[in-house]
Amino acid sequence: MSGIALSPTRSTLRRYLSLALVHAVLVAGVVFMLAPFVWMLVTSIKPPVEIFTAEISLWPKQFYALQNYGMALEKAPLLRFALNGVIICGGILIVQLLVAIPCAYALAKLDFPGRDLLFVLVLLGLCVPVQVPAMPLYIGLAHLGLLNTYFAMMVPFFISVFAIFLFRQFFRSFPDDIIHAARLDGMSEFEIVWRIVTPSAWPAIAAFCVFSAVAHWNDLYWPLIVISDAKLAPPPLGMMFFADAEAGSNYGALTAAATILTAPLVIAFLIARRRFIDGITMTGVK
């Protein structure tokens, strides 16, 4: 009732007030979200004298970016860490797709003995995080003399049961008629998978690529176990080595290093914003 009694100016006022409140909450959240990024960038261009004061200032009096970034790059092979990250993510992703796509197609469209059992195994695999098989895998790799290799870092992730599950859902809705027609045209199953079915599932594949790259670029647990050679370290492990070596004393160089190692994914995200967000939605909600 009171809503009707309100005069138009008062209701507009109320709308503006609630809008202001909404933005106040959101902006408070934004400050919390952005604070580490802002502080990282600001610190990475400050000289030590300004870092080691208790004053809060968002801009350096003396611009010290060259020295900090130079020192970070000189003391730690940051570009090497980033390159390792690219190699590992790329290697994992390629094998994951090569293994998961045919398997998902077989599960979705072909009738073969043991299909249901395989699907049950895939579903069970979804519940087993890498930390569970980690120790036997470590022992096995140690016996094979494969610790401290790119292969060791990638091998547990070659099979992504999640990719198989996701792609199977997509392939199932692919029309059977088209597959039959392709078979009548004399196409082999191999061609059907890679030239007809795979392109149709492009949104799911792109979503999975984003998911996989983010996960493995940022993974620490497994590389920490199998890698002790700093030359092979992916970004998180490299950052950890560097932070340990600096022991929290050189914040300028540390934040510069953090900026360099965080930048590739963040920039990729800012460029392909929609892809990332759609990808997370799709892989999250299924």
Partner: protein, 308 residues
């Protein structure tokens, strides 16, 4: 004529048989690499882990004896393991409500914005893509007792400085806040997808029925219809939070005085630093049990979603 009429069904049958045979062979062939990898990297290690958990094997050692369930008994009685389990659950108990309700609030507020929506989306999502280990170093500096801006702000507001990460009473909660910071945007995106799926005319209908206020609208339409999404987000957040490792390994290493020792960190220490392989295998099974319980809840959540 008669011969042709006889031959056609027969050759059809043989073509169909041949077709089926090809299908079975290709199916197996396509599934084979996945099956082999599944065996080598998940199933065999799980079997090995089961056997190891029944022994006193230490990696690098030469002798090994069967000890039955001793490792499990020891783990359940071990005060360090109990404490790390309690710490993990406390961490989950902070991150889950914070990360889920916070994300829900932000999603509801962001959902109705038109011009500013993508701006907020990008900023809240930024921590999800950033490398947590690198950002952990920055957080350490932000929260530094004497040099960090957070404490400078507290002092300016007239509060006593807090040594967030070196004080046993605050360290775990501080890590939980960082955990929330990291996954808030992820959950927000999931909630936004759920909100988009709610038909607009429902809100209009509610308005006609006298549900005018924002809170009314939320309680009568948004919350019930968002139920399945909430359930899903809840369980994924529980699993993610239960696997807390990175921030502990980089920022506190279980300290101060064990206040941030969590289950996965203890498994890492026992298995890969002290090489108590048999014991760590038993601990891994305790870890897996929790993950499986959460996963079962997830299956139920997904089921509800299908029927709904």
């Amino acid at each position: 004529m008669a011969m042709a009429a006889l031959a056609t069904p027969a050759s059809f049958a043989s073509v169909a048989r041949r077709r089926r045979w090809i299908e079975r062979v290709t199916g197996l062939g396509f599934a084979m690499p996945a099956l082999v990898l599944l065996l080598l990297t998940i199933l065999l290690p799980l079997g090995a882990l089961t056997l190891l958990s029944l022994t006193n094997y230490e990696f690098g050692g030469t002798d090994m004896d069967w000890v039955g369930l001793k490792n499990f008994q020891r783990a359940l009685a071990d005060p360090i393991i109990r404490r790390s389990l309690v710490n993990t659950l406390v961490y989950v108990a902070i991150v889950v409500p914070g990360g889920v309700l916070g994300a829900l609030l932000i999603a509801v507020l962001v959902h109705r914005r038109k011009q500013t929506r993508s701006f907020y989306e990008v900023i809240y999502f930024l921590p999800v893509t950033s490398t947590l280990i690198a950002m952990a170093t920055v957080w350490q500096f932000l929260l530094h007792p004497s040099l960090g801006p957070v404490n400078a702000l507290l002092k300016w507001l007239g509060f006593a400085p807090v040594a967030f990460l070196s004080e046993p009473s605050t360290a775990l909660a501080t890590l939980a806040v960082i955990g929330i910071w990291q996954l808030l945007g992820f959950n927000m995106i999931l909630f936004l997808a759920g909100l988009t799926a709610i038909p607009r005319d429902l809100y209009e209908a509610a308005e006609i029925d006298g549900c005018a206020g924002g809170i009314d609208r939320f309680l009568t339409i948004t919350w019930p219809l968002l139920g399945p999404t909430t359930m899903f987000v809840l369980v994924t957040t529980m699993i993610t939070a239960f696997k807390i490792f990175d921030t502990v390994a980089v920022m506190t290493r279980g300290g101060p005085v064990g206040s941030t020792e969590v289950l996965l960190y203890n498994i890492y220490l026992e298995g890969f630093q002290y090489f108590h392989t048999g014991y760590a295998a038993a601990l891994t099974f305790i870890f897996l049990t929790f993950i499986l319980v959460f996963s079962v809840m997830q299956t139920f959540a997904l089921d509800r979603k299908v029927h709904y």
